[in-house]
């Protein structure tokens, strides 16, 4: 057990970081499965969610639920996203247009 103990009587400071893998044993899906479940269960929005996931995948990003929500958050309030990103927002104008017209989100 060497290497973790601290000198003297002081207890070591422990920090725990839990991810989705800590909950999968309790019938809770990870973020990828959540994206798949949402796609399959929200039939009314299925086509749009699939479109978003495909856009995300084409960009080389994992199309999990957080990626989908990130895109939707951006599409719902592009001006806030622009403020957050500053000058970088200039290159996202085309993406905003994509959300508004191609996906019919707004």
């Amino acid at each position: 057990m060497s290497g973790i103990e601290v000198k003297g009587a002081e207890k070591p400071a422990i920090v725990v970081l839990l991810g989705a893998g800590a909950s999968v044993g309790f019938d809770l899906p990870d973020n990828r499965k959540l994206a798949a479940e949402v796609t399959n269960n929200l039939q009314h929005y299925r086509k749009r969610i699939i479109q978003i996931r495909e856009v995300v995948k084409r960009a080389g990003v994992t199309d999990d639920i957080e990626a989908v929500l990130s895109i939707l958050q951006f599409c719902e309030d592009p001006s806030k996203a622009s403020r957050d990103l500053g000058p970088l927002s200039a290159i996202l104008q085309t993406s905003a247009a994509l959300c508004q017209y191609d996906l019919g989100i707004r």
Partner: protein, 244 residues
Amino acid sequence: MIARRIREYLVRRCFVNDPIVIDSIKTDYARFFRGLTARFGLALCDPGGESGTPSVDIFTTNYDNVVEEYARTIGVQICDGYEEIRRGNFRFDHAKFERSPDSLRLYKIHGTVTYARLANGLIDRVTYVPPRGPLVMAGQVAFPELIYPGSKPYLSAEPQLELLFLFKRALSNADVLLIIGHSLRDPNINEVLRQVSATNSKIRLFLVSPHAGSVIKSQLSAYGTRAIAIDKTFRSFEPSSDLT
């Protein structure tokens, strides 16, 4: 509207109600916490010490109420940063963690299914999620807004800004970071880990995951031999024997 429907789905899917699942949570987390306490000689939350639950900082990117359900069933005090300022009205106060040194402190970096914003703007605790239909609390439609995507910058958002800072501060003084079931894809968390690797030379990382080796190689290389892979699931992980 889509985002709202997705968040409603997430609340329904990630809010644990099933007694069988809750019993499983109680068993597995009791074993985990007892092992952690025994391994490091940690101080306990409950004065009687019957549950063996340590007073420890738990950060999570999970939305679910698993740790909360463990604490509720075992009767342990939990601090999640929210305090009830009047009946049915909660607010986040990061200072509450400092005021709760004897609690199980839970920091939900990506948000939680356990709080929702009511139509009148107030934040209330979610105690029950109906199997279908809109989430209604205190006679009002409630919006599960407190779920935040993790892959976009949340640098200016409350309470994420505060929670990320608290994560960095906790790691700056930590001897051990125990990461369980995490893929480390959040760029903000990874940046904190990268910074801490340079400023806290005493910290050791243990990553418990069936993919621990590859995650360490791709995300934690800055830690060198201070990052240790434990190729196990949460359920098969034994803190008292695996943390060497």
